[in-house]
């Protein structure tokens, strides 16, 4: 399943990017494009809603690292929400769980953001 990415804005200006499908070597460019659009508009606060991501590979993970670098470079902040078991395993295996704070739900990620 090709990755589809929807972006919405909350009332207090946080961008919620919601990819759906496999975030892998085929799908990663779509997430990168969505992040680039958000970063263009100034210091971004971004939640990536991983709830619709069924599977992640190292290239998909690379696109999230790219997002983090772009967003922090623009003085913004990134939070990950709702990763499934496979995504959490990959984050832990690569020790990137130390870099990305992730939250159980989008609502949790938006709290105090």
């Amino acid at each position: 399943m090709a990755l589809e990415v929807l972006t919405r804005q909350t009332d207090n200006g946080v961008s919620v990017i919601a990819p759906t499908g496999r975030l892998d070597v085929a799908g990663a460019p779509a997430l990168k494009d969505a992040i680039s659009e958000v970063v263009k508009d100034g210091p971004p606060r971004v939640v990536i809603d991983m709830g619709g991501v069924s599977f992640v590979d190292s290239t998909g993970l690379g696109s999230v690292i790219s997002a983090l670098k772009q967003i922090r470079g623009g003085q913004g902040e990134l939070r990950l929400a709702a990763p499934n078991q496979q995504v959490r395993v990959v984050l832990e295996l690569t020790t990137l769980d130390r870099v990305f704070p992730y939250y159980a739900t989008v609502e949790d990620a938006l709290t105090g953001f």
Partner: protein, 147 residues
């Protein structure tokens, strides 16, 4: 054209076999994931079964590399893929016509800021065995995990 075929031979004690050829990235990745779905069904494992999920993650890493680098321009030979599970051990074989991959086999996990270069290091950690050999002009990969 892909040519996936699998055999479910009647009971969980009998070998599971799946074979496919493919040439394109999204098509190939979909077939790899479908092969694991078929294995899950054939062995009666639940969705989220950890050993199978770890194997699928490794298969997608090596499969993604093979699909990305294994068909240089002008290559006619498709990617060959075989999956077999027997006596609780799953073995995947992938072959491609890409350049030799010896130099990448010992890749270590890169720094947190690196956007690439984790695939083989991840696969090594996820599998019981990651085999590679150069056979003439062909790369042959062997992935083994006890489920």
């Amino acid at each position: 054209m892909p040519s996936p075929a699998f055999s479910r031979l009647g009971s969980n004690q009998e070998p599971f076999e799946f074979h496919a050829t493919f040439a394109h990235l999204e098509e190939g990745l979909s077939i790899l994931h479908k092969s694991v779905d078929a294995l899950r069904d054939a062995t009666g494992r639940r969705f989220g079964d950890r050993p199978l999920m770890l194997f699928e993650t490794a298969l997608a890493e090596i499969g993604g590399n093979v699909l990305t680098h294994g068909r240089p321009p002008g290559t006619k030979r498709p990617i060959e893929f075989d999956l077999r599970c027997d006596d609780g051990t799953v073995v995947a074989l992938l072959s491609d016509s890409g350049p030799p991959a010896h130099a990448h086999l010992s890749n270590q996990m890169p720094s947190h800021t690196s956007e690439a270069g984790r695939g083989i290091a991840m696969a090594r950690r996820l599998l019981d065995e990651l085999g590679y050999e150069r056979d003439g002009e062909v790369n042959r990969w062997r992935l083994v995990k006890k489920l």
